[in-house]
């Protein structure tokens, strides 16, 4: 296929490229800086990936090492500091534990509730659905203070439970799955009943497998939100580093290192941002659909 030159198209590309440069600027700064030596960062030299010239590591020198023994490559030094100056692996692991637990529990609560709302007639169902719609209006972040107090009263702050509990019921998840279940024909459920399935078996053997696309979208929505969440962990995790999630770890890193260790800090930021960005680049369609699903209501 060939395209003729068009002023309109060129103009549109011009605007969009300008936008793309601004959008990508911090990503460029982040990755580029994570490759550079302190001197290059301070002077703004080194091009995109730095010259990668060896430089003496100041902590090594301070510990009385010889200059030739203390020489390091900037990129290796930045990234190794990101993992040694703070327990970065631990943070990442915590991030995985917290996001996956939240999603698993949300599913466990939301799917049966959504099935009941969509397909079972029970007394008070309309009121129950109205409650879900009302709860959709309450941002969990807004009620962080009372939630924090309740957890504190229960002695649950500084624990995985504190990170996970407030999120295990997602009004949005219930609403989303309910809307999807509404589109499943009643006949299919009746057929399952005739085939000898109970309501529980129907949920996990019939409804859930047919709802995989919706569930996947919700998974992406949920994981992205909670991997990146900073506000809630900031409130309930105070001090205990072994419970830090990646954003908390990065924030602590920034606090610890003052202003001068930009190389390692940018390396940490890259490490934290990379998992989701890579996942997004690999499965863009699913991600965009998943995030857009929140626009369905």
């Amino acid at each position: 296929m060939t395209y003729r030159f068009s002023t309109r198209q060129t103009l549109a590309h011009g605007f969009l490229i300008l936008g793309a440069i601004i959008v990508l600027l911090p990503f460029y700064v982040m990755i580029s800086t994570s490759f550079k030596s302190p001197a290059e960062i301070a002077t703004g030299t080194g091009g995109v990936f730095g010259s990668q010239a060896l430089f003496p590591d100041p902590t090594c020198l301070a510990l009385g090492g010889n200059e030739p023994d203390c020489l390091v490559r900037p990129v290796l030094d930045n990234y190794s500091q990101a993992f040694t100056a703070a327990p970065m692996w631990r943070y990442l692991l915590n991030g995985v534990i917290v996001t996956l637990s939240i999603f698993a529990l949300q599913t466990l609560v939301a799917v049966p509730a959504a099935y009941a709302l969509a397909k079972l007639k029970f007394w008070g169902r309309d009121a129950a659905f109205a409650l879900v719609l009302f709860c959709l209006l309450i941002p969990v972040h807004a009620i962080a203070l009372p939630l924090y107090l309740m957890l504190a009263k229960l002695g649950l702050t500084n624990s995985y439970a504190a990170l996970i509990l407030p999120w295990i019921v997602s009004a949005f998840g219930i609403f989303l799955m309910r809307q999807f279940f509404m589109t499943v024909p009643d006949d299919l459920i009746d057929a399952a009943r005739m085939d000898g399935m109970g309501e529980f078996a129907i949920i996990w053997r019939v409804m859930l497998p047919t709802a995989i696309p919706a569930l996947l979208a919700f998974a992406i929505f949920s994981v992205v939100a909670h991997w990146n969440d900073y506000f809630w962990p900031r409130i309930v995790i105070t001090g205990d580093r072994s419970l830090f999630t990646p954003p908390l770890g990065l924030r602590e890193f920034k606090g610890d290192l003052g202003g001068d260790f930009y190389g390692p800090m940018m390396a940490s930021a890259t490490v934290i941002a990379v998992p989701l960005v890579v996942a997004f680049l690999l499965a863009q369609r699913r991600f965009i659909d998943g995030i857009t699903l929140s626009g369905m209501k």
Binding site: P185, D187, L188, D190, A191, A192, R193, M194, D195, G196, M197, A201, V206, P209, T210, I212
Partner: protein, 393 residues
């Protein structure tokens, strides 16, 4: 194999009565169609039989045993749904196997992976596999066993749905409008196949449809339902020739029966538009006459109806002529043999008669009432009066 009995089944949602006391006996091995317009309660009756809904009062017996309150899965019935209701994530073979795995394997044995290792699981699974294959071969879908429902055509899905019902070897099959999602050609084909299946299996079939043609072609007996009531139960012939209710007459047959509004005077003479028809009511006064399109015969004199041709439909094998007739609000339809082609033109005047045996009379309540030929011969005045009418229309 089993008989099915409905005893005074009533069902209401709030103030609306969906079923108003339905009683019906279905014989063992019989193919019975429940037919009626949408909303007449036929599907509700089937779902009550299936155990998916419960009746407000009355009772259901299968094989002589009351099943009220028994779980749908425990009634030994199989059901085929309008939307086929195949599990979209399972292959054809797995779909057909579901009712068997749910019954023959224990909860533990059904677990993924581990279940296969449990004692007894292997042999049971092998037996299920054989049953599934036999059913698939019977329905000519053995080559589709590995596909997913999404990859099948409507007709193939229908067969899978039948297969899933078949493997259970149930005492009765319930079919809820199973052909209405198929195209016209496929529907005619499956009609024959389902009727054959009934004969081959010898099992009781209860078939719900809104399409009277399906009911007429497949059933041993038809039960016509309207507004929650059973109007008539009988063989297709009985329903066609001797409808007991004007609504049954109108519902059965295509093109529909001609309904002529008439008056019956004190002597029992039936008049159409103030003209004597040569018929008399031998029972209660007649308000409507029903004449099937093929029961009409063109005649020179002594006609029942006279009218002007409005439109001619040529079907090749037959000719449907529609007339505007005096005193009849709807056009009168006449079915003529193909030999009549070319002899009739639009705006021609046609005179039609019918033998009294093929005329149905209905009283003021719409119930069938006897009609017989008038004993007196037609007089001259009658003829001239009709001529005037003919000139009028």
């Amino acid at each position: 194999m089993a008989t099915i009995q409905f005893r005074d089944i009533r069902k209401s949602f709030g103030d609306t009565d969906v079923l108003k006391g339905v009683g019906l006996d279905i014989a063992d091995g019989e193919f019975l169609s429940l037919v009626g317009p949408s909303g007449c309660g036929k599907s509700t009756l089937l779902r009550i039989l299936a155990g998916l809904e419960s009746q407000t009062s009355g009772s259901v017996r299968i094989g002589g045993t009351p099943v009220d309150g028994l779980h749908a899965a425990d009634r030994d019935l199989a059901m085929v749904f309008q939307s086929y209701a195949l599990y979209p994530h399972l292959s054809v073979a797995e779909n057909i196997a579901v009712p068997l795995t749910m019954r023959r394997l224990s909860n533990a044995q059904r677990l993924p992976l581990i279940g296969r290792a449990l004692p007894g699981s292997r042999t049971t699974r092998a037996a299920i596999g054989t049953t599934v294959r036999e059913a698939a071969e019977m329905l000519d879908i053995a080559h589709l066993l590995d596909r997913k429902p999404g990859q099948l055509s409507g007709g193939q899905r229908q067969r899978v749905a039948l297969g899933r019902a078949l493997v259970r070897d149930p005492s009765a099959f319930l079919l809820d409008e199973p052909l209405s999602n198929l195209d016209a050609k496929m529907r005619v084909h499956m009609r024959a196949e389902i009727a054959q299946l009934n004969r081959k299996l010898g099992a009781t079939f209860v078939y719900v449809t809104h399409d009277q043609a399906e009911a007429m072609t497949m059933s041993d007996r038809i039960a016509v339902m309207m507004e929650g009531e059973l109007l008539q139960v009988g063989t297709p012939d009985a329903l066609y020739d001797h409808p007991e209710d004007i609504r049954v007459a109108q519902f059965i047959g295509s093109p529909a029966i001609n309904i002529l509004p008439v008056d019956t005077d004190a002597s029992g003479t039936i008049r159409l538009c103030d003209m004597a028809t040569g018929l008399r009511a031998s029972g209660p006064p007649i308000e409507h006459l029903g004449v099937r399109p093929e029961a009409f015969v063109p005649c020179e004199e002594g006609e029942l109806v006279v009218g002007r041709v409005r439109m001619i439909e040529n079907l090749g094998s037959d000719l449907f002529v529609h007339l505007d007739a005096a005193g009849v609000p709807m056009p009168v339809t006449v079915r003529l043999p193909s030999s009549a082609r070319g002899r009739i033109k639009v705006r021609d005047v046609m005179r039609l008669t019918a033998t009294p045996a093929r005329i149905c009379g209905f009283d003021s309540a719409g119930k069938a009432a006897p009609v017989s030929a008038h004993d007196k011969a037609h007089d001259k005045a009658h003829d001239t009066a009709h001529d005037k009418v003919a000139r009028h229309v």
